[in-house]
Symmetry: C2
Subunit: 217 residues, 2 copies
DNA sequence: GTTTAATTTAAACGATTGTTTAATTTTATT
DNA sequence: AATAAAATTAAACAATCGTTTAAATTAAAC
């Protein structure tokens, strides 16, 4: 019996083999793009039969949907927990930045896939899930900054909705030009690259957002 | 006679038909990705025969190379002209930001193609041209900011090499999530979207970089 | 006007794509 | 141990891919 046809919520039950396929798909999609990756590539790397992808996910398109859903669920929770913490606004912003960076680092390739494959609006189902995620993120950021503004520590003439683009955009641009910065900063190993992100890049973004939020004309 | 086989610098001579193909290729590559765009798609939209792409450019791969070369040549010149201008450092930085944004806006899709199709390091030839471009850009930025630091108007504990990621990354992230921000800011027409970039987004980036550069702890 | 070169075309090439089928093996249930 | 369900397999499907060919058309050169 085919598991997909009779079960519309199939993406919720994730057995080991499904997760294995998703991980390989994430890796290959991020390396070669969605269209550039064939099901045969995935099945070869995941050491399964070609038919298993269709068997488990129904189609390549729905494999992508399952991948996006699988990888974006818990970021929202993490941000809502941050909101509840009783620390001063600037520290909260710094933690927010760390969460963002850590998140994207953890799910290495998926954000590239997200931005790239959802740019054309045809994949509406996945796009909607992604949009919901972004709306939730924006609400968290808004809440934190308005808190700081109410306390008088953040200036009020900042465009709150454009702060996330600056945080994520900076990190993303760094990541998208990885080989360029590896050469520029002489980051020879994976560890050195990750350390640069954890220390220097994170610090730069925190410094930038702090300056933007507390700078007085 | 085949024009490619006997002319290795074929990308320099660009007749009308070649440019027409490049423009269509840019549009489709940015919409659907390199792998997601077939030569048949291009030839249909450009209203030419399928064989003409191979005839003019040799292959799909070399069409991409020609496209990248064609679209990135004159940014370098524009930045070098800015360096010569005798205006105060902060204004120079603001102009730099405007040049970047205007540049990427003008060549709408190509930067998306650049970042995503060159991420995997297989397209070494195109990648090298792109790397050279980025190195040149970085030198310009360095020069401008060090000038401001020497004059005492910019602080010295900023990571100069990470400023470009913040500028371009912010803009790029905004552009990559276009439909999200269109809904968020209620930008119903192409004109409204472009106006938002020209006014609000540019202002936000300029404000951010200014704060980072002149903010005193 | 004839000849030569450049352009454009339709057709075909083999390779690869995502997906389905039907048979087989493994696992679970009774 | 027998039966039913699930998982896995190899093979085949039609469709599309990038590229090449060889003939037809247009433009240029003399």
């Amino acid at each position: 019996m085919h598991p997909i046809r009779n079960n519309t919520m199939s993406h919720i039950e994730l057995n080991d083999k499904k997760i294995q396929i998703l991980n390989v798909a994430e890796k290959l999609f991020s390396e070669k793009g969605f269209e550039g990756t064939s099901i045969r590539d995935i099945s070869k790397e995941a050491k399964i039969n070609i038919a298993m992808v269709s068997y488990y996910f129904g189609s390549k398109e729905r494999l992508l949907e399952a991948l996006i859903f699988h990888k974006t669920v818990d970021l929202k929770l993490q941000l809502e927990n941050l909101l509840q913490e009783e620390i001063e606004p600037l520290e909260k912003v710094n933690k927010l930045i760390e969460i963002y960076i850590n998140r994207i680092c953890l799910n290495k390739g998926i954000y590239r896939v997200l931005h790239f494959e959802l740019y054309n609006k045809k994949r509406e189902k996945s796009l909607q899930a992604f949009t919901e995620l972004k709306k939730g993120n924006l609400k968290s950021v808004e809440s934190i900054i308005k808190q700081g503004q109410a306390q008088g520590v953040f200036r009020k003439d900042v465009n709150i909705q454009l702060i996330t683009p600056t945080i994520i955009g900076t990190f993303f641009h760094f990541h998208m030009n990885r080989s360029f910065f590896e050469e520029l900063f002489d980051l020879k190993t994976e560890e050195m690259f990750n350390n640069y992100i954890k220390n220097d890049l994170t610090k730069h973004i925190q410094q930038t957002i702090k300056a933007l939020l507390v700078y007085e004309n």
